[in-house]
Structures are given as structure tokens and as C-alpha cells.
Subunit: 558 residues, 2 copies
Amino acid sequence: MAERLIYLPLGGAGEIGMNAYVYGYGQPGKERLILVDLGVTFGDMEGSPGIDLIMPDITWLEQNRHRLEAIFVTHGHEDHIGAIGHLWGRLDAPIYARRFTGTLVRLKMEEYGLPAEAVNIVAPRPEVTQVGPFSVQYVPISHSIPESSALIIDTPAGRIVHTGDFKTDVTPVLGDAFDPVGLSEIAAEGDGVKVLACDSTNIFSTHPGRSEAVLATPILEWVMAQPNMVVATTFASNVARLKTLADAARASGRKVCLLGRAMRRMVGVAFDSGVLKDFPDTIGPEEAAKLPRNKVLLLVTGSQGERRAASAQLSRGRYLGLSLKEGDSFLFSSKTIPGNEKSVGRIMNALSEAGVEVYDADDGLYHVSGHANRPDIEAVHDLLKPRIVIPMHGEHLHLREHMLLARAKGMTSEIVTNGKMLDLTGDRPKVVDHVETGRLYLDGNQLIGSMDGVVRDRIRLALNGHAMVSVIVDEDDKVLPDAWVELMGLPDKTRAGGDLARHVESELSEFLERADARTVRDDGKMDEAIRKITRQVAMEEIGKKPEVTVIISRLMAD
Amino acid sequence: MAERLIYLPLGGAGEIGMNAYVYGYGQPGKERLILVDLGVTFGDMEGSPGIDLIMPDITWLEQNRHRLEAIFVTHGHEDHIGAIGHLWGRLDAPIYARRFTGTLVRLKMEEYGLPAEAVNIVAPRPEVTQVGPFSVQYVPISHSIPESSALIIDTPAGRIVHTGDFKTDVTPVLGDAFDPVGLSEIAAEGDGVKVLACDSTNIFSTHPGRSEAVLATPILEWVMAQPNMVVATTFASNVARLKTLADAARASGRKVCLLGRAMRRMVGVAFDSGVLKDFPDTIGPEEAAKLPRNKVLLLVTGSQGERRAASAQLSRGRYLGLSLKEGDSFLFSSKTIPGNEKSVGRIMNALSEAGVEVYDADDGLYHVSGHANRPDIEAVHDLLKPRIVIPMHGEHLHLREHMLLARAKGMTSEIVTNGKMLDLTGDRPKVVDHVETGRLYLDGNQLIGSMDGVVRDRIRLALNGHAMVSVIVDEDDKVLPDAWVELMGLPDKTRAGGDLARHVESELSEFLERADARTVRDDGKMDEAIRKITRQVAMEEIGKKPEVTVIISRLMAD
């Protein structure tokens, strides 16, 4: 059978988060595979209460692990590496990454007791990593974390460029600049670029993206204008931003104090891996507390309103001996990710109540995006001249808009969402398979399927409350007269002001006294009847039907 | 004792939503009172799962209802009238409103079996409503609903202007235009304006607000450019927007079909009360389904992503015989309220999957805000020339910014959040009391306090899952050997792949067999020990500690 080139997203296509893209080459069903990135997304109370992390269901890949040559990591953001600690054991394939990214991945491997030596550090193009039928090169590209890379994936069926996350920043403050000449060289080699798998995050932003460098002056001016303590928060992984903020502190005579584990770790890794070379000396919180307030800048975690991060702790009062006061200034040098508005707002309002001046980046002075805007995406199209564009890293809306753009420019383009296997061998890509995909939830220390019902039950409990009924049936199949009802997450009063649990009990007792022997002997019938009565009584009294759990205990003759 | 003028927000000050502002005049503790507005805010899964509506805790006002002269309603938005049906019975005071607003309030009263005749319809200034020491006039002002009004509240201690929600729109398409000359007349009468209680929602928007009228051309051009079915959603209460959209339909040869109960009701009330005079004839969904797709415009509810509204239903497939297809167009002529981003995004992506072109108002072409921006607020300051500005209708951040603005302009200003009683008698307002306030949750048909623990328990159930343990103690205080464990919202497997519930049972049985008589006789000790073991075992096996409910049944000798 003829060999083919396939593309199969397991995560990240039709959503922003948990990126995991498979490429394969070989005879159908026997393709040798590589995986690009293995990230997470974050749970929330609305869709996944109690779940910290969500990752792609890689069952298909696990079943085909004997065909998996390697995992290539484009950059160190959690939505690209966050699942490695949890899922690598199921795949057991060598990992490739550049130094900074690889250091972050190694830390993750160690954290989960996995072999850090599985992570191979590679240098950028022209270094080539050969795995099976794939020759892979790392192409430095700019993003909001150091060392983000596009991948050139050369296959017998042609050249793929997988952008990873990128922006077209030629003055990124720190790390790799966008290199248009380099990209046009990639397009000029051999048969050029057959397939471009391309970041779609900012496809709806119609103005050209702005460089990280434009923030230096506004941030410096802002810091210099503040009379007292200055606090700034951004993603810890945005090392360029940390540097801009720290440089502004130094230039205005302030000492920098890093607060939050991620902040300290990221600066450490950036130093050790050589991407960060010049950063002011930092001080600890004790020292910061002793200095005059106008001599300190705190760089803190928690720009997305995370409850346990430094920003939230500071907003609630004292944190590591530091507290904010009337006249202090707090800068969110960040964009609030959709869904986090309320958490971020809560912190901003708490700071406001303490008299702190809160500044956000809404006017564009103190934050730039890490993703390519529409004209930037077009520039990359034009430089790489791919014959086929596959939009990735986006919700369906983004993928669709990117597809329409690519088609309007005369390129072939398809929307490929998670689980669709695309055959890229010929000139016209076609979907050749649908693979079962989905989401895995990390719950405590277990990975559960999103469709297992566990989380659905939790949502029901949260919406409806829980009534528990315990009934005892004696040795002679006689129900003992008292049903016992416990309520949780429900109002405890009846309409008339009585006790709701006792009222349900008495209604149940009435039924149980009259229940015939056939019903009493049948757990299923008992359960159904008790559930129905409980819900009915609750509906009458409080206007809602709770979840009901019935426990029937049958006494045995000694 | 000298008489005094007081201001006491019970809701809406320190939050956007559930507006309820009390003014009083008289001897301290004996002031005669009026209430301005009585609104709701909406619950969400994160903070209040299972709760549909949240309203201010008016306990203080209920205790002082003998002093309450009247309730004045500024306009018909739910955050200003939504609690009337639920709370009016506790206050039993006459309600005043203009015709359109009053009609909406009367419908609410009827819906809850309350006397619609308690609602008095008043005309705008110069009509004066005299209640106790207050002379109240309605001042037409523009907003995103017809007939929004500011109130002039004249008291022996001076004139208050309470803006309600407003924008400074001189061409509002429909309803009252902003009237700067009228405002300056209000300032010129008598001693002028002592206190301005003023909307703060858009204090952070630095450009002048835009008129509703600027949307007509872009919306018409947009509708005309669409090849197939057109759907548009906005708040049903934004009757001016409905008219703009419907006029665009008519001008482009499309019939208008209203989908969603609120949409039909609002148009009806607008007609009946005379604020809407010219609106195209509408057709029903059956007729819409029969017409060519390019001859129809659906005006639908659900611009905020509400699950049961028409937008959501259409995004999920067929609704009332209508379904959307490749090439149809869907316009969100609305701003997404913070917190609703994910719900709105879900609908947009579902539409995108169906091939529908989705348009939002991000570029400003298809939506304008209903609130005054910072320069507009300044214009109102300048026209009314108040001596004291009280920022209201805003989160703490907004109130603080508005206060700083007012002070910078030389006026006296204080942040007054819910529950603070401000004495406004003299030149310098001062907080003279703190009143217990809070939130009431509508749960099913009951109103429960937000701090009652019911919702806190639900959140715990959702985050942690629920383990129920049933234990039976016999007539001789001997524990029957089998504990029964039921789990809900928890993974069901142990680390080793066994059944978690059975595993907890066997661990509990071990304890129960060894438990001494004193423990067994003591419900409290049993409960504590069983809870502890259950949580410990779960922690070991699944890495999380569930909520635990223990039911101990004690058999009695016959």
C-alpha cells in the first residue's frame, strides 16, 4: 500500500489549550508517529468543579505507542508541556526540546519521578533531529516565553512547518527575534513548504501586533511616577516582561523582590539555561518589608486571579510580612484570559478597598500579546508560501476564520478539529479517520475521563443539593419505622418553617408503613419509590428537586 | 434632636447589580425613608451554584418598614426591578414609576400574586410626587432601555439628584434624549444641587460615549450584505436596538421574527406604553421557516449566552422549526458582561461549527454602551454643579475612580458601599452607621441568606465529592459488622484498581470491630472517627478528601 502523511490533533484544535498534535508517515495504519507538545488546560467551577488540570485523552496514541518515535516540544507554556508529567509514562518516547524549554520539562519529569534523561536538548536549525521518516529542525521564533520554536518537519511527502505559538516580534527584549529572512529561506529550500500548521489565536485582531520592546518606556515612566510601593504581576514565564519590569525598577532606584514560587523558579531556569543574562539582584520579602516603600518593586504571580498566588494573597492582607496600603500601586501587566474576569476583578476590588491604585493593561501601554495578529499571520503565509494551511491553536471560530483567510489568499485549507485524521499526502488534504478523543481530568491523584460521570454528578450536587435517605429492613423483610434523612446543600426549612429533613422522613415513613412485601424485598423498587417521594416533597416545600441517595440496609438473621 | 438627611445603599454600591438605595430625612433613627430601585443580580456556578437570582438583604428596611414612604423605580432593567416580586411583600409600600417601567413592574407584581395597583404611574417633571418630607420628580434621561429616569429628590436639607443608569445620548433613536439644558435648569433652581448620586459603570472609559443613532447605518449595511438567514441578538429591553435591527430588516426586504419570551413581551409592553410607535409587523417562526432564507431576520434572546434562551437553542440545532445553516449570519449586537465570556463563546463556536458566520460588536460597529463614559460623567457634574458627589452603581474600583475624579474637580466625594449610612445634612458627609446587609439567594422558591451555609456546602460537594456512610448499632450497642458506603462525584477505583467504596467499607469495618463501647455509644465520637477514616482512606487512594455524611442508625428493642 502507498505510504501517506497524516496529521491528527488530539488537543488544541477547536479550543485554546492542551495542545497535542500527531504527525505520521508510512503505510496506512503503520505510520511512524511523532507528537508535537503535550499540554494541559485548566478546570473551572462551571464546567469541571474540583478538577485542577485537564489534558487530552491520548488513548489512541497509547495504543499505538510502538509507532511513536518521539515527542517534540515547541515551548515551555503549560498548555504545551503541562501534561508531560502525567502522561509521559503511557508513551515512553524520547522528548526533544531546546535548552530553556527542556530544563522546564526535565523539572516536570523529576517532579513526577520520571527519567529526566528522556529529555534531549537540541540546538536550533541547522541542527537536524532524525526520527524514523522525519527530519525535524527547531526554528527560533518570538513568543511570550523565551525560546519558542517553530518546527520544520521534513517527510518523504514534503515539508511541514508547525509554527507552535508565535508572534512576529523583531525586538522581543529577550530571546529569539522573529526572522523573516530565515522563514523565506525555509520556503526556498527544495520543494518549499507543503503544509503550514499555524497558530490561530489572534486571527480576529486586525491591527499588526506590537513588539515587547514598546513597553519599556511606558513601564519605566509608570514605575517612576508611583509614590510608594509598586507591585507588578504578569505570567512568570514571560521572562522578557519580568526583565522590562525589573529594569524599570533598577532605573528608578527600586529593589526587586520576586514573590511566588513560579516567579522565582522561572527566573532561575532562565538564568541557568542562558536565556536571561542581565537581571537586577533581587531581595527577599523580609528585606523588602524593611526598605522605604518607594524603594521596592514586587514582581508577583497571580495575574489571572489564581486564589493561592501572591497577588490574591496580597489583596487579602499580609503575605510573607508584606502588606499593601493606601497610596501603593499595583499593575496588571497582563491580559485577563476569558473566564478569569471575575477572579481578577475580585483581586482588583480588594486592592481598591485597601486604597491601592490599580492599573491594568486595557489601554495597551503595559502589555502586548504573545500571538500573531491577522496581518502577522498573513505575513507568515506570504513568507513560507505553503500550499496547504491547517489552522491550529484556536477555538472553532478562530480555525474557521483562519481557514477563510487562507482560502481567500488562494491556498488550500481545512478545519481539522481534535480527533480528525487528515491525509496530507496529495494536493488536497482529506479526512480519512476519526479517532476517539476527549479530555482527561486530574482529580486528586487520579486521571478520570471527562465523560465518566464523576464531574457530572458533582455539578448536579452543586446545582441541586443532596438528600440522603437511610432505611433499614429487618430479618423478616419488615421496614423499620424510621427512615433517616440527611440533607446537604439544601435549605433546611419547609414552607411552614418546619424542619425539612424531619418532614421528608415523616412522608417517607407513611409510604414505608404501607409498602407491600414485594416492594420491600426489591432494592430497585424501594430505591425508586423513596427517591421519587423525596424529590416530590422537596419540590413542594422548597421548589427544587435534590439529588437523592438511598441506602437500604438489610439486617441478617444472626 | 436635629433632623438629618441620610443615604444608605443596601445593594449596588461596591458591585454592579441588585441596586437598592435608601434615602431618609428626620430625627436620627426616626427618619422617614424612601427606597430607590430594588433589583437582582444573577448567580453563577462559581460563587452560587444552583441559585438563579441574588437580591439585597433588606432586613434593616423590613424592620423599619413603618418609616418607609415609597419605592421609586428609575427604570425597568432587572438589576433595578428584579427583586420587587420577591421582596415587596416584606415592605408593602407604594411604588412609583413612569409608564413603561411601571407596566413592567406591574407584570412582575401580578406574576407573584401581588397587587399591581400598588404601582403608581407618574409623569416626568414638572410633576412632583410628595411623600413624607420628600418631593420627588422624574427627569427623563437616556439609557439602553426606554424611559430611564434620574430622580430629583428635594428634602428640607437640600436637593439630591439620583441619576439612575444613564448615558448622555442626544439622539437615542427611541425614548428620551439626554437634555443638557434641562439639567442646568435643575442646577439653577433654589440652592442648586447639594448631592449627586451618580452612575459609575463606565468611569474607566475615557472617550466620549457614542449615540445609539450611530449604529443605524452599519447595522443596515451589515444586514444588506448578508446572503442568507440573518439572526441578531441583544438585550430584549434595549427596545431602541430592536427597532434599529427591525428597521434594517424592513429596509432590506426581510421580515422580522421575534424569538424568545422576553423579546415578545418587551416589544408588547413598549407598544402598549407608547414608547414604541413604529415597528415592522412581525411573523411567527412557522412563517419564517417557510420564507426564503434571505427574506428573514430573527431577533432573538440570549445575547449573554443564557442556556435556555433562543440563541443557545438555535446554536444547538432546531428551535421552533428553525435551524441555522452554512452561510447564515449571526450578530451579537451586545457586549458580553464579565463572567459570561465562556457561555457566549460556547454559542459562537457551536454556530461556527454549523458554518454560520458569527459577528460580534468588538469593533464597535454594532453596539454602543448604555452608560455614561468618563467625559460624559464629567459633563453631568458640570451641568448639575453638585456640592457632594456620591459614586454609585459600580464595583469598588469604579466608585474609587469616580470619587478621585470628583475630588480632583473640587467637589466633596466619599465612597459609600452597601450598608454604610451617610449623613448628608452638613457640608461634609460622614458615615454615621453601619447596617447589616448582605445577599439573599433565591433557591427554588426559598430565599436563603448567602451566609447560611447552604451554598457553601454545595460548593464543597462540587469540589470534593460526597461519601455517605451508614452504620447500624444494635439494641445492645453493638455495631453491625457491615458499614455501607456510597460515593457520589468521586472516582470509583482505588489506586490498585479495586472498588473504592468497598475498600472504605472494609477499612471502616476494621475500626468498627475494634471500637470500644464508649465510642459506640457516643454519636459524636462515632461520627468523627468514621469521617476521619473515610477521608484518610480516600486521600491515600484518590488523593482527595471528600465531604462525608455519616448516618448512625440505632436499633431499639421492640
